[in-house]
């Protein structure tokens, strides 16, 4: 495989990785909670797309419009009813809490959907485009563009909207935001809802490309970890940078060492970054 193809693959995959990580990064940044349900939310989103397509022939691009509000409500309620009760507790407690919730959701998915791998196959297939020797399947291309669009939407929301500014304010300085009259608990719930919505949408896009199974959730979660740490917590651009770097490292790594070592490499990179540059490539304090 030549360099141009590796690079193009990395860019395509990198945008998807960024999309996987962005909701996770938002929740971590704003709520200071590592949301271990994130991976299962993504898988649930993928099942939603799979179900809608197979039962009602709703194409995945429209499924995004269904997934976003549905997951937002799910996340919002989860935060309001459960997580807000332990949000001030030490790291250990919030982390274990989201782990417990993840066990429940993941087990429920295995129970209802079984653990087998399924694949959403578009009929007719969209084929692929090739420029010179570089080949990209069209469904992958569409997923990438949608992922970028979602990321851009979040950026605009945080930059331009009133609620977005409130989220950034809470992230920067919780206490000051309270003094300015921001209802922190409700901002937490909105941020968590947004994180869930982004996960659900990411799941819909993943369904276009990867096989679907509850067993894949920890893989997605792992990617979200790595992207956040590489890119730096707290920025949309950081997630993009992290996603691209991860995809590039995996691409180059699997070319030289074989695909089996790509994951190992990415986690070693994660640990190295944590130790040497915990703020990541583009880390800073505000979430924009």
């Amino acid at each position: 495989m030549h360099a141009a193809q590796i690079l193009v693959n990395a860019v395509v995959l990198g945008c998807l990785y960024a999309c996987i990580a962005i909701g996770f990064s938002l929740v971590w940044g704003v709520l200071n909670v590592i949301n271990l349900i994130h991976g299962s939310f993504i898988v649930l989103g993928a099942y939603l797309a799979f179900g809608l397509y197979n039962a009602l022939h709703i194409s995945p691009w429209y499924s995004i419009a269904v997934a976003a509000p549905l997951f937002f409500v799910l996340g919002y309620l989860l935060q309001r009813l459960l997580l807000n009760r332990v949000i001030t507790a030490p790291v250990l407690v919030t982390l274990t809490m989201t782990f417990g919730l993840d066990l429940i959701l993941n087990n429920a998915m295995i129970y209802f959907f079984k653990a087998d791998y399924r694949k959403l196959t578009l009929t007719p297939s969209l084929g692929s485009v090739s420029i010179f020797d570089v080949v990209v399947p069209v469904d992958r291309l569409i997923a990438t563009v949608s992922a970028l669009a979602l990321t851009g939407l979040l950026y605009l929301l945080l930059r331009r909207s009133r609620v977005g500014r409130a989220i950034v304010a809470v992230r920067l300085d919780r206490d000051a935001a309270v003094l300015m009259g921001v209802d922190v608990k409700s901002i937490y719930a909105i941020a968590f809802g947004l994180g869930a919505a982004l996960a659900g949408c990411a799941g819909v896009l993943m369904a276009l490309i990867f096989p679907i199974s509850p067993l894949t959730s920890s893989g997605y979660l792992g990617k979200a970890f790595v992207v956040c740490v590489l890119g730096g917590l707290g920025s949309v651009s950081g997630a993009l940078a992290g996603g691209l770097l991860l995809a590039l490292v995996e691409g180059i790594g699997s070319t030289f060492f074989g695909p089996a070592h790509a994951t190992t490499l990415s986690f070693i990179l994660l640990i190295v970054f944590l130790i040497l540059r915990p703020q990541g490539l583009l880390g800073r304090k505000g979430f924009e």
Partner: protein, 311 residues
């Protein structure tokens, strides 16, 4: 010796008398109980005493299982394999700890979680040595009969538990334990009074890995077959935390009780709800954190009374 330490030793003695009352099933449960208690007590050294939310338990458990498994296949005796697993884990964890424990809070949690992933993937890919994803068969022992073997592994695990308990008691009553408590409360102030925090945290991390790795070694020999997704299961990292939270962070007696109680719950759930047992486990975790965040220790009569008055 404090009252709670004596109580803990009594509890251990009671566990040791288990073979008098039960057959193979009881021995199997007893072995797992000892293994869980080793994990929870070990985790408590770094998570409870020093206050670092480590998710590395599964990494060291798997490390020990594979170290012993590979060495057993080379024909070394079990005790030697377990000692080697323990000592190498101690050293590796101490070195890793010096680097990883510079991170705090979430960053440390994620780094320790990643350690599990890295080791699992390494084992998965080192097919020549470990059999990779196909798993590793471990030669059967003497062939001295099922019950005798069950007895042997129960006492092997029990002795490891005894050693763990003695280690934890020694740490809790020593300068090391005092220093870890300082680090938990205020790390900056600790170094200001002359405490070498890096050294202390490294020792704590090493000790918390050592016996878990040994237990992994005994486990591998006991079950005769291991594979990466079994022994590097992230649940092995989370269960000790749940046990410690159940019993009450920091108190060795509480943590050991938490481990036994947890096993009891797990067994009941496993038998009755095999299909949804992880979901039920999740539910237990959520309820525990919501309603009993300080563990069973907060249920002491005096505290209950205070709570009643409060209401």
């Amino acid at each position: 010796m404090t009252k709670s330490n004596i109580a803990l030793l009594v509890l251990l003695a009671v566990v040791a008398s288990l073979p008098l009352f039960g057959g193979a099933y009881a021995l199997r449960l007893g072995t797992i109980a000892c293994m869980y208690a080793i994990m929870a007590l070990s985790w408590n050294v770094v998570g409870g005493f020093a206050g670092y939310p480590s998710f590395a338990t599964a990494a060291f458990f798997g490390f020990g299982a594979y170290t012993a498994g590979v060495l057993l296949n080379k024909g070394l005796p079990l005790w030697l394999c377990v000692v080697i697993a323990a000592v190498t884990a101690l050293l590796i964890a101490a070195v890793l700890g010096a680097a990883l424990l510079r991170l705090r809070g979430h960053y440390f949690a994620i780094a320790s979680l990643s350690l599990v992933e890295v080791l699992r993937e390494l084992v998965n890919n080192a097919t020549d040595l470990t059999g990779g994803g196909m798993g590793l068969n471990i030669p059967l022992g003497s062939g001295s009969g099922v019950l005798a073997e069950a007895m042997f592994f129960f006492y092997a695990m029990w002795i490891l538990l005894l050693l763990t308990v003695l280690m934890v008691m020694a740490v809790a009553g020593s300068k090391l334990g005092f220093g870890l408590a300082c680090i938990r409360q205020n790390e900056t102030a600790s170094s200001m009074v002359g405490l070498n925090t890096t050294l202390y945290k490294s020792i704590a991390f090493g000790l918390s890995a050592c016996f878990v790795s040994a237990a992994g070694g005994v486990y591998a020999a006991w079950v005769h077959y291991i594979d990466p997704s079994d022994v590097f299961d992230i649940l092995y990292s989370v269960k000790p935390i749940v046990m410690a939270l159940m019993g009450g962070l920091g108190s060795p007696l509480g943590v050991a009780c938490g481990a036994f109680l947890y096993l009891g719950l797990e067994e009941v759930v496993w038998r009755n709800y095999i299909q949804i047992h992880t979901g039920v486990l999740g539910l237990i975790i959520v309820l525990l954190l919501l309603f009993l965040p300080h563990g069973l220790i907060s249920l002491r009569p005096a505290n209950l009374w205070r709570r009643v008055k409060h209401v």
